[in-house]
């Protein structure tokens, strides 16, 4: 009796926790975005002053401003990855790729954290330039995993919708196996093609954005999904008459 009551109560609490966590991470990310923009503006200002006067004092100010903007940029990227990772918890059971993506997101978050511990020790223009090269190389993998996660989230959402369509059709005892199976397979193949784009090998120094092309596949799948939903509506209305 108590166990049943616990199970009954536990499910909504879990759902609420997920939404709260995502909302919190999203808020953190948006705050960090503002911080980055302020620091970036300050960096540009200090850089211009240094270019104008070229003194030791103005160089020191520029280095400090550069370090501050590095720190806030890393925090911004980390908060973005964290928000994506938490968002992927939703509907994660629909794809085996999800856990792998979440692990990679977490690895990148850790890398950014580690870098933020190293940055305060960079005290010369040469040290900063060297670090920029390290960051630029790693930024390619950050962008790759972020866009992959974004795409996977959308695929999972649509797979969940497909599942809900099937469940509703079954509960309404609608006989449309052929219609559903054909459409469902087409939609899933579009998801596979979209995901395949995320696996293309990236150049070491430059990110090739696969997301717009992958999004095209998702848009095509949306059209088919809407048709399927429309078919389901017709079947349900017919059932009601």
């Amino acid at each position: 009796m108590w166990l049943l009551l616990f199970l009954f109560l536990a499910r909504p609490i879990f759902a609420q926790k997920f939404t709260d966590l995502y909302t919190q991470y999203r808020t953190d990310y948006l705050y960090q975005r503002d911080q980055y923009q302020q620091n970036y503006s300050n960096y540009l200002n200090k850089k211009n002053i240094y270019l104008q006067y070229g003194t030791t004092a103005t160089e020191k100010d520029k280095i400090d401003a550069t370090k501050a903007v590095f720190l806030s940029r890393n925090s911004l990227l980390k908060d973005y990855l964290m928000a994506l990772r938490v968002a992927l918890n939703q509907n994660s059971n629909y794809s085996d790729n999800t856990t792998d993506i979440q692990t990679k997101l977490q690895d990148n978050e850790k890398w950014l954290d580690t870098q933020n511990q190293l940055i305060p020790d960079l005290n010369s223009s040469i040290a900063l330039s060297n670090w920029v090269q390290t960051f630029k190389t790693h930024h390619v993998s950050i962008q790759t995993i972020a866009n992959t996660a974004l795409l996977q989230y959308q695929i999972n959402l649509r797979l969940n919708t497909l599942d809900n369509i099937e469940k509703l059709a079954n509960s309404a005892q609608i006989d449309w196996t052929d219609t559903y199976n054909n459409q469902s397979e087409t939609i899933k193949s579009l998801f596979s093609e979209a995901y395949a784009l995320t696996q293309q090998v990236q150049r070491e120094d430059e990110f090739t954005d696969f997301y717009p092309e992958a999004k095209d596949y998702l848009n095509q799948s949306d059209i088919k999904l809407k048709n399927l939903i429309s078919d389901l509506r017709s079947y349900l209305v017919k059932k009601g008459n």
């Binding site: 970036y40 989230y153 969940n160 939903i229």
Partner: protein
């Protein structure tokens, strides 16, 4: 060649130092014409006033008698969904609105050239 004899008439009109002001032309109007002009302007003002009043009344009548414009009947999806048997309505609505659950997370725009 015959020589012209210079003659100084010494008339005041031809002396540049003495400029005599021209006589102003005085238009003399008869009292009848003045009366006509006054009456004409009164009639003109009255005509203008009547025109303004007519326009105002006409526009006021227009606002009262609004001609009903034909409206196009749009089929709302909610109304359409009301034809679905009630046990399945909420679940169908959830499926139909799946795109509302897409992530609202703007991608970060960062400058990777900082520090170079």
């Amino acid at each position: 060649m015959e020589e012209k004899i210079y003659q100084n008439f010494d008339q005041p009109q031809e002396n540049p130092l003495e400029i005599v002001p021209e006589k102003k032309l005085k238009i003399s109007l008869s009292p009848k014409i003045i009366l006509l002009i006054i009456l004409g302007s009164i009639i003109f003002v009255l005509l203008l006033l009547s025109l303004v009043v007519t326009q105002t009344r006409h526009s006021a009548n227009k606002t009262v008698n609004i001609i009903p414009t034909p409206t196009t009947v749009t089929i709302n999806s909610d109304n359409n969904n009301s034809l679905i048997p009630s046990p399945y309505q909420s679940e169908f609505q959830k499926i139909n609105n799946y795109t509302s659950q897409d992530l609202d997370l703007p991608a970060p725009q960062v400058d990777t050239e900082i520090g170079l």
